[in-house]
């Protein structure tokens, strides 16, 4: 680092802010957890957590809510990462929640387990008595998130009340809570999609191959290109096409759409993101249901 200048770039400032928030979590809470989805944002979170506590290890476990509909690449990547950094991984399965009768599986060709994750997540939080769950959500993702706090209070039912959030001043984060309540903490609040990609490049962070352009069989459903797999099979009238695609976000195979792209390197992706005309969630079927779809899911305790 040159010592002739005390200027810091925006990525350095965002990184420092995220590390500060992680350390506040470790200091203020007894049983924090990092929500790991296998997507790029949670991979960046893990990287930041390593940096925040270096040379120590990450002082909290990672929690993955497995819908059973994950891309196989996601799970392989997850296991490799956890082994490499020596983190403690907890996995809870939506299938278990279904088997226990906690949730009811949606039926039909447009069924998704996306909404069911919320119950499995809240159950896991209760099971381990986690008092802070660190997530990779960013305020630029969606309108309802623009007002989200770094430290977001959840009541005993895991619910978010947009009218009853604590003001956040300067960098003083208030993590005090009553019994049974918990916090969601979002260290990447001030990052944009482009920031995340630029940071991945700067730090040389490894990502699942799904993010890069590859040939894949896809089917167009409700305007979204879905990957053909055991879980997503073409319906009558739908045609399977082979295209060069990549994924801008990684979630459930049933609702994460691919975009046509030739971006095979981080630099290609950065150029693509910088000139994109559609938001990254624009390719997700779950946000399209109603104008306030995300807000509704957040109130119920979604990520």
């Amino acid at each position: 680092m040159p010592n002739t200048s005390y200027r810091r770039t925006h990525l350095q400032q965002l990184e420092s802010e995220a590390m500060y928030v992680m350390r506040e979590v470790a200091a203020q809470f007894e049983r924090p957890v990092l929500l790991f989805s296998g997507g790029k944002d949670s991979i960046v979170l893990v990287h930041l957590a390593r940096k925040a506590f270096y040379p120590g290890k990450i002082p909290f476990p990672l929690l993955h809510i497995d819908t059973g509909h994950n891309f196989p690449e996601t799970l392989e990547f997850r296991d490799r990462l956890v082994e490499k950094i020596g983190a403690h991984l907890i996995v809870r399965y939506v299938q278990d929640s279904i088997d226990q009768g906690r949730v009811k599986e949606e039926r039909g060709p447009y069924a998704s387990r996306n909404a069911l994750q919320t119950v499995t997540l809240l159950d896991a939080i209760e099971e381990f008595r986690f008092d802070a769950a660190i997530g990779g959500a960013r305020r630029d993702e969606e309108k309802a998130r623009a007002k989200e706090r770094f430290f977001s209070h959840r009541d005993q039912f895991g619910q978010w009340d947009p009218k009853n959030q604590r003001p956040e001043l300067w960098t003083l984060y208030n993590g005090r809570k009553g019994p049974g309540e918990h916090f969601r903490v979002f260290p990447l609040s001030n990052w944009t999609e482009l920031d995340v990609w630029m940071y991945i490049k700067r730090e040389g962070i490894e990502l699942p191959s799904l993010y890069f352009a590859h040939r894949r069989q896809v089917v167009n459903r409700l305007g979204v290109w879905l990957a053909v797999s055991d879980i997503v099979q073409p319906l009558p009238g739908e045609e399977v096409a082979e295209k060069t695609v990549r994924f801008r976000t990684i979630g459930d195979m049933t609702c994460t759409g691919a975009v046509e792209s030739n971006a095979t390197t981080i630099d290609d992706i950065i150029m693509e993101v910088a000139t994109a005309r559609v938001t990254e969630r624009g390719a997700r079927a779950d946000d399209k249901v109603s104008e306030a779809a995300m807000e509704d899911r957040k109130r119920q305790g979604y990520f």
Partner: protein, 657 residues
Amino acid sequence: MTIEQQPEIKTELETRAPATEVVELLRFSTAGSVDDGKSTLIGRLLYDTRQIFEDQLDDARRASQTRGDPSMELALLMDGLRAEREQGITIDVAYRYFATPKRKFIIADTPGHIQYTRNMVTGASTAELAVILVDARKGIVTQTKRHTFISTLLRIPHLVIAINKMDLVDYSQAVYERIMNEFNDFAAKLRVQDVVFIPISALHGDNVVHKSVNMPWYDGPTLLHYLETVNVGATRNLVDFRFPVQYVIRPNQDFRGFAGQIASGRIRSGEEVAVLPSGLTTRVKSIVTFDGELSEAVAGDSVVLTLEDEIDISRGDMIVRVHNLPQKANRLDALICWMDEEPLDPRRTYWLQHTTRTVKALISDVNYRIDVDTMHREQADTLRLNDIGRVQLTTTQPLFFDPYDKNRATGSFILIDPFTNRTVAGGMIRDMTRDVDELVEEERPSVTVRRPVSQNVVWESGALTREMRERLKGHKAAVLWFTGLSGSGKSTVAKALERRLFEMGVHTFFIDGDNLRHGLNGDLGFTPEDRAENIRRAAEVARLAFEHGNVVLASFISPYERDREFARSLIPAGRFFEVYVKCDVEVCKRRDPKGLYARALRGEIKNFTGVDAPYEEPRAPELVVETDLQSVDDIVETILQELVRVGIVPPSTEADA
């Protein structure tokens, strides 16, 4: 008109792709009344800088068609929550992001209704600049005053008064000027550091991103151009090293590191530090990061410090420089903004969270409430939601703090209700609570330099007073004391400033180490004693010139704080400006205009500041300028603005006339 009907913007957009290179960051807040067009302005900024995506635009277009009001399109891009969308207004702080090839911007978008002072304070707390929307048809209204007052209260260094809806007043220059004058009249009572007025039409895009063809009389920057070029980092204190310990990292027996974000100042490995509250001193052994050890870290960096000696340190302790300590007190004088439905209860204790330390606090006295609309002080026993007032607090354990004016990070706190756990107030420390007795006792104890007075000499006051001379000259007298390392650019800055002042018709007097040591101080060397005598004589000369009504520019390395304090003690309060000319020592060595560093490094000169003699950084200089970061012209402009602001010299336009 809908935004799509503007083809000239569409083509321009292609050249405005956001930066893919690393850039600077500017956080700013926006405030305006309900109908000032704030959401439209932000929508315009985002749209014209290509931050709006097709699917977002589709959503907004659908929603605005539902309402049958196409002019709402830009505003609807911004409104997040359903409740607001139904009311057509924003009710909470929302954060927006956009970037240009030059900068990334974080907007804290705060609502303007009467009951939401708390949101404005929240948004302002992290902002370096505030954009205040004024409706050109209405001019300065109560809410404009409130926004401005809160922005100055939170010490936002830059204000932009965006005079919107110019299209509805025929783009009239007279309207623009009337509003500007109205604002200046009202703001004269406030501590506004820097303000610009930009006439815009958010709806049509005039002077937002693109220069307006409708207002040829306006030759200032567009809003975006200003946002891209305004000096960032003005809220960052690079002088006073403060490191609140956040978390202790102890992976094994051999490693014990203290994690935290440097709140202000800088630190190098090897430097001597003190740990508060224990007061024990040691040295920084290393500055550890994931990417390797650093030789130096600066305000804003998240690092891990290890220390030479084993000292018991935990979260909430503060690591500081031995010769630059924060204040310590458990009785505080503060301004607070009450943010909870339940009013302040003077009989209850609250949690007070300050840096990484949380203590219990009692509000022992409410001095007054400030009416944010009139800025009048009103007597009050309590504070209610959205009230701002001055209070005295007593804490169970002492806090280590700096006044908020000097240091946002160590001068701010929040209060938490211990029962509801809600954040009930945000506060800014003015000082420790002082009683009259204490004030008398404390009068100037810091000046230890002996000031010899020759016997049988009576101070010759002369028949003419300084005030008479000042009236004749048309400006006030002052002493600007430039301190800094050799080669930092003190004399360069002072001489450039002197030329500007001269051109403005200001009477000046310049002295520096060289011209004094060639004559009056030719008998002195560079030992600490001789340096003290050198400064004593310089300060006395400065005082004589000051008493004759001059603006004195004194440029001396003056490495010791007590010597500078002596110089200060000769001049009345408010007339002495310690200007810390800061520059990295490595840069000074490279510049080495007189070849002195080279000689000192070869051992030919002893006691050379920055090589084998210390430089004590000013603790509380009136001004800090950085010659390795700013141009001489910018620095001169900054100092000049300060002199105008505090009323030493009149604004240059008047002086020219």
